[in-house]
Symmetry: C2
Subunit: 488 residues, 2 copies
């Protein structure tokens, strides 16, 4: 019996694998049974025969059969032999009998797969990346931070499950830091530690929105916030953005017409235009939030980087009425790999939002959180920001100078007062995606174009590149613009 069965191809053995041979045989035979190729009551070949066929020790087959019998796949009838169990529910033999037995997880799911959110492009591995505004990770003080991590990980306490609101020591240190750097006075229990601004955006809108709730956003805005609002069922209404930021007149007009649940704003440096919301608009916005009872989600992702006078206080620091949910992150100060951010809000909102944090991601990284607290407490974050600020200012100035000299007739821009990117607009109609493709072929990835095609806008991240690198990258961009202009 069993001589006709293609045992050798059905039971592929990998002798380099760490998985014992007997378990590889078990796996393969289970697959044969599950696929229906080995039907119930099928008489299995003798151990000696199968062993010689597979070139393994006979004991190996015997152990595999024992295991399969113990698990219920096979049964042994004394004096008759070993059979595939007849008590197993049969799966339809949907796989053709000549299919390989070690199948991969299929390409397609059996259940219906819906894609609510379209996929983002991944950044290509170009030689030189002009991002939409990332820090220079080469400046990141990871040596110190991971030294702290290693030390903290020695304590069992920091390895256990922890408070989903985040490390209490980091929340205390952060409360101090926010007070010192931006006049934001809050208690540690008014802070929730997140994995970065993105998680803060998600949690805020998840807790705020019911399906159909109105959310006001800029006509250009941070696309991944737009997607979160969409995902959470929000109905987005756009308001114009001018050189003072979001138009508060337009916001007021909406509020007069209909209930508004929330507003999303990057007040310090509007994304993507880098415009700072003016003082009177700040006051007006807070007054509107008070009058119409909506929540302001203030995404302050790059507060620390301001090159002119001291930066304006965040809306959250001016708010005495509990209108503002404030989001920040260490991603832009240190490195994208350091995934720690925070959300500051009135106590009742923090209490409402914390269970959501637990549901999407049990808790943060207690070792990294404590390490950051130690590092901030030692004054190292402020020193690092100060150093980066000096370097980034030079790079911003270099880019401005480059744009004035080489691209004055093709691009308009206003030098940003802070942040890590300069927002430029093309004076003539240029396909910015075609420009990115042109650059990509020349090993330069131009990442800040994707969402601004209709606005002829590009975000040119200057912070992550040295002057030499910026020059090299911008030379390709300049050639691309000239090429595309001639083509028009």
């Amino acid at each position: 019996m069993g001589q006709l069965y293609p045992w050798k191809t059905s039971i592929p053995l990998d002798r380099q694998s760490h998985r014992p041979l007997y378990l590889q045989i078990v796996d393969a035979l289970i697959r044969e049974i599950v696929s229906g190729r080995l039907a119930s009551e099928y008489k299995m070949p003798g151990t000696r025969y199968l062993a010689s066929l597979l070139e393994v020790n006979r004991k190996t087959i015997a152990i595999a059969y024992d295991e399969l019998t113990a698990q219920g796949w096979l049964k042994t009838v004394p004096a008759k032999g070993t059979f595939v169990s007849d008590s197993l529910p049969q799966l339809k033999p949907v796989v053709p009998s000549d299919a390989p037995s070690s199948t991969y997880l299929p390409e397609k799911a059996r259940f219906e797969v819906t894609t609510l959110v379209s996929s983002f492009r991944n950044s290509p591995n170009a030689l030189l990346r002009i991002t939409d505004g990332s820090p220079d990770v080469r400046l990141a003080p990871t040596e110190e931070i991971y030294r702290w991590c290693r030390q903290i990980a020695k304590s069992a306490t920091s390895l256990r499950y922890q408070d989903e609101q985040g490390d209490s020591y980091l929340r205390e240190t952060l409360a101090q830091y926010l007070r010192q750097t931006r006049g934001l006075v809050c208690q540690p229990e008014q802070l929730l530690i997140t994995r970065g601004s993105q998680m803060g955006i998600f949690l805020a809108f998840q807790a705020l929105l019911q399906a159909g709730d109105t959310v006001i956003v800029g006509e250009v805005s941070y696309p991944e916030a737009n997607r979160v609002i969409e995902l959470c069922g929000g109905n987005q209404l756009e308001v114009p953005v001018d050189e003072q930021g979001l138009s508060t007149d337009a916001i007021e007009a909406i509020c007069q017409r209909q209930p508004v649940r929330a507003l999303y704003i990057t007040s310090h440096h509007h994304y993507p235009t880098t415009v700072t919301l003016s003082i009177d608009r700040r006051m007006k916005l807070l007054a509107l939030a008070q009058k119409y009872d909506f929540a302001i989600v203030e995404d302050d992702y790059d507060y620390d980087f301001h090159y002119a006078s001291s930066p304006l206080l965040p809306l959250a620091s001016l708010d005495t009425q509990g209108c503002v949910i404030y989001l920040g992150s260490f991603t832009k100060c240190i490195a994208p790999a350091i995934r720690v951010g925070y959300l500051a809000a009135p106590t009742d909102f923090i209490r409402s939002i914390t269970p959501y944090r637990r549901l999407i991601d049990r808790q943060g990284d207690p070792v990294m959180e404590r390490a950051l607290a130690k590092w901030i407490e030692a004054g190292d974050l402020q020193r690092h920001v100060k150093k980066s600020l000096r370097i980034y200012r030079e790079r911003r100035n270099f880019l401005s100078q480059y744009l004035r000299v080489y691209l004055n007739s093709a691009l308009s821009f206003r030098e940003p007062e802070g942040g890590m990117a300069t927002w430029v607009r093309c004076d003539s109609i240029i396909d910015t995606l075609a420009l990115a493709q042109y650059a990509s072929k020349r090993e330069v990835s131009l990442e800040g174009v994707e969402h601004w095609q209709n606005y002829q806008g590009i975000r040119l991240g200057f912070a992550s590149l040295t002057s030499d690198e910026l020059e090299q990258g911008m030379n390709v961009v300049t050639k691309g613009i000239n090429f595309l202009q001639k083509k028009n």
Copy 2:
């Protein structure tokens, strides 16, 4: 002018703070203006007067006034003095004028706060914690893992933004590991790296469910999965759980009645009862998923810990039709602080789910992900599991022995074949929450009771405690049971 204003209390100065005094004055004056206490056109006191009142240098006041003028809060009229700007929109002076000017973020938000999900209790800081099944972090090889982290963090590449699907090197290593340890054959692109099982549960149901979709769960199940399904709009139908696991007859009966979108199962060791789903139920369940086109979300949080024969293959390893979404995590193998898990599924589902991962949490921790890959590749994970397995088996045996000797008449249990906890049921009616309170007063926290009160069930985590600690903790539990039984 200004002599009547309570300047000294309105401008509290902290001379220990790292925030410069002039900025503290700026902050405080902005707050006075925002709160409406300093009205527009109010004439500010002279710098000399205010400086002497606040006991600071006159220049400090002058710099503060300059900053406020530059930002637009104040205006200077030549030969007349400095005034609060009259161009600012007025906020209602809602704060009484005697309120302190450095207010905290309020307790209550102005906008309406809804709490959809009730808060969980945080674990108390008891002397001795009998968890619901956590690993012993004292065994965790964090020294090696963080040594890898430090080395990997030296490379700028790992500090930049990375693929939201997770480190490609970890996905390759993990594909190997899953094949070797559980016969699960998948490609790296069929894996999504998460922060742990919890994020996997959230992402799976977020992508699967529309409001009102039916999800089948056990009558007892993992409560935080239940909450996620609720949050994602799922309608949960419960099926009985017996000594073979979820009842497939009950599942079939539901499928015959109505469409089913998904089923949640902890097949290896059912949570909380630790029961293993039998082979014929596995086959039946897969057949049902194929017939009725529903997704099986298989949460295999503790596959690595099995004390009897080699563990049954996961449903995902038997599935050739793309019915299963498989969740795993390193949390239980290493330590809760190491927040890396994964989701394996058909390629199209992985593509559908990845954008959600990006929206809730831009990406994982590339340094830790690469470190784990290196560590697994070196064979250290398997060595660590083997060592832990030996220790945990002894602890399980110790607990079984204790239960038989001291609590035989009060509790029923079946020794679990794997995992980190033993499920016990009280024979007489005991208030298990009262038992936890009794223990808590004696410095022992009994954590696996919260959700099982109606079932008279307790999950006793044995893995995280030595025999001595288990004995000490269980002695308190025994006394508590005796005390409560007498009271009845």
